[in-house]
């Protein structure tokens, strides 16, 4: 489980996160939703250590990540996989090399074992036959899938996905959502997804944290979210005409 305790983060006079606390459960797809600029990306970056919070604690299964030495942080980071908004694949490497990279850096595997693991991960995201291609030769959806394959190559305990469906057509977005759900269940990972795509939230979420102006304004599951008595949350959920029609029905 990942637990945030009273996290605050400011940039100059701008208070982006204000005393945020949250729990993300293992084996579940935990969503962080909110409007652009609400602080969800900063919250994720504070959680994974790309930004240092001004105060508060981030606990990975009880281990306080914020007060750890760099060496201990490295150990925790090898247990983290992350899917970035743009894929963040290494341009100079092929698909197979991208997936193999974390294994090469940190695992004790032989070359043969690594190749088997890479083939498994590529198969898991249904990209067999594309191992020798470079990221520039792939579509956006395929790049996201390679990102997932790379993220799971080290068998992570925690998976973070930053806007996994941005820039994807609805059908491909559903494929990515399904992949995230299946992988979370299969590996028993604690998955945290940052998104403002309501289709994804409804399709894939087990728990939802709605962040508004740097504070958690709602915490619950799908069913609770749809009947929540919160104006800011309702404005967010029912911003599109499609969602309004669904509500009115």
């Amino acid at each position: 489980m990942i637990e945030l305790k009273n996290i605050s983060k400011s940039f100059g006079e701008h208070h982006v996160l204000k005393n945020v606390s949250a729990k993300f459960h293992p084996g579940k797809v935990n969503f962080i939703i909110g409007r652009s600029g609400s602080g969800k990306s900063v919250m994720t970056k504070c959680t994974v250590g790309l930004l240092e919070p001004d105060q508060g604690q981030v606990l990975f299964d009880g281990r306080d990540f914020t007060s750890m030495t760099q060496r201990n942080r490295k150990e925790v980071r090898t247990e983290i996989g992350m899917l970035f908004q743009g894929g963040a694949l290494f341009d100079s490497m092929t698909v197979s090399e991208n997936v193999k990279f974390p294994l090469k850096m940190f695992s004790e595997m032989t070359d043969e074992e690594m190749d088997i693991r890479v083939a498994d991960c590529i198969k898991r995201v249904e990209l067999e036959g594309h191992g020798d291609k470079f990221p520039g030769e792939l579509s956006g959806g395929m790049q996201k899938r390679v990102g997932i394959a790379r993220a799971i190559s080290m068998n992570p305990k925690y998976l973070f996905c930053d806007e996994p469906n941005s820039g994807l057509d609805p059908q491909t977005a559903i494929v990515i959502d399904k992949l995230i759900i299946d992988i979370t269940r299969e590996y028993g990972m604690t998955t945290v997804v940052v998104s403002h795509d309501m289709n994804s939230v409804i399709e894939a979420s087990d728990t939802i944290h709605f962040i508004h102006e740097g504070e958690i304004a709602f915490e619950g599951d799908n069913a609770e979210m749809l009947v929540a008595q919160s104006d800011t949350l309702n404005e967010f959920i029912y911003a599109s005409k499609l969602m309004q029609k669904l509500r009115d029905k």
């Binding site: 790309l50 490295k74 970035f84 743009g86 963040a88 850096m105 940190f106 973070f160």
Partner: protein
Amino acid sequence: MGIIFHIGRYTRFILRVLRKPENGAVFRRSLVNEMTTIGTNSVGIVALLSLFMGAVMCLQTAHQVSGWIPVYTIGFTVRQTMILEFSPTLIPVILAGKIGSNIASQLGTMRVTEQIDALEIMGINSAGFLVLPKIIAGIVCLPLLVIMSMFLGLTSGAAIAFLTGVSNMADFQYGLQVDFVSYDVIYAIIKTTIFSIIMTSVSAYHGFFTHGGALQVAKSSTNAVVYSVVIIMLSNLVLTKLLLT
């Protein structure tokens, strides 16, 4: 942002760069790749510039030599110019344009496309992983390129002197040898080594701390070249004062 801020951030950046690499084998492979990019891929441009510079220097000096100035001055001037200034200073300045912009744009693009964040998330010291091989490759390759440049400049000077008849071989050879101090070459190598560190690390610094998009990558690339050249020139003055006077 103030100069103190940049000096502080640059120092912290270099301390991160100098940490022990996570994986020796991956680091060695990366070092070989960087030596190819920085060293091997620069041989052509360095050779071309040095050949022409040696030849032009010879003709310009010959144009000045008349009356009481001995002809061997042509060989002497070509030697001193190539060894003391052209090869160890101008070659790194020119390479700051080629290699420096390459380093800054590569790292800048990696930053804005979150590839550097991806390395950090994996638990890799991204600064060390990406930048240390470039700095070491620069330290190894640049002095070799500069020695090659000296040799080619002197050779082309001799060739043009012979072909145009501005000096005979004996005079030119005498000019090359007269009052030769081997310390001048050592001075040149020391300068080049320091310039290579400046060129690679300053360019990497600008690329690594890029924020934004394509426009900022281009700006970082420009800044990398400008700052590298300015710092090389300032260091040239200081080093010359310290090492030669």
